[in-house]
Symmetry: C2
Subunit: 133 residues, 2 copies
DNA sequence: TATCTGTTATATTACATGTATAACACATAT
DNA sequence: ATATGTGTTATACATGTAATATAACAGATA
């Protein structure tokens, strides 16, 4: 599992980590039941603090993407991922609204925006990391 | 121009304001050359501080969506909006990647995600809750 | 002259982020 | 049993951001 953090980014480290773990699950690189590194191990590997990793893990646990087993440690949710809840749809729409408006103002067409969304979705669930085009 | 702020939201007030002004421009509710309220006026109307409005205006000015005229005050960019820059495309893709992964993990199909994007784009550039213009 | 504009400066409060130690209960391997 | 590793919790500290509060300035306006 590749994880690349940008310590200069305005996006918090714990949020970058959450994003990349979700992308790992979406891409199939992380499968249900797979173990994740311990908070101390991953923190050391990434050169960050234990509590920052713990915060990410807890957020993912709270959303139902991870489980914590006293025996197996932290694993990817093996009993089915959370579905498309009303809360998620609302958040998705709100974020898309912001992106769509910024795109439209800059002259990006409906088709271009829609195709970009489709393209990103495809790259998300298949390829990872590499550049293309 | 309706502006609704959620003071309880985790999204900063200045960012909500930036978003809604861009949506106003995208929808056509705000047209190039249109004047915006003064920082003091808008701050008072919204019940927030002058500097918060000023921060939003400055961000929008810096991105090229607003102009500040010594005579006309703050107006919507009359000389053509910024286009689809490389920096914007990169930011758009990064945000879409996060959304697409979260959607995919929850079982949202490519088609559903794509159609949601298209739908939101359409609602953005057309009518906004019964405005006349 | 008095008022309004954006702008700048300073100060303060509150909160988020990230780090740093330390300790706890539980499980596991030697 | 002892040592080690696990997630978890508590406390503390430094830094930066967000938001507010006053105050002042230069330029435009009525």
């Amino acid at each position: 599992m590749f994880i690349e953090l940008d310590l200069q980014s305005e996006t918090p480290i714990y949020a970058q980590l959450v994003d990349q773990l979700i992308e790992g699950i979406a891409s199939g690189e992380l499968k249900p039941g797979d173990p994740l590194p311990s908070v101390r191990r991953l923190a050391e590997d990434l050169g960050i603090n234990l509590h920052t990793v713990n915060k990410s893990y807890n957020l993912l646990k709270q959303e139902g993407f991870l489980q914590v087993h006293r025996k197996k440690g932290v694993i990817v949710q093996p009993d089915g991922m959370p579905g498309v809840t009303e809360a998620f749809e609302e958040k998705l729409r709100q974020q898309l609204r912001s992106l769509a408006a910024a795109a439209a103002v800059r002259g990006m067409s409906e088709e271009a925006f829609t195709q970009e969304s489709r393209s990103v979705y495809r790259n998300t669930i298949t390829n990872r990391g590499g550049e293309q085009r």
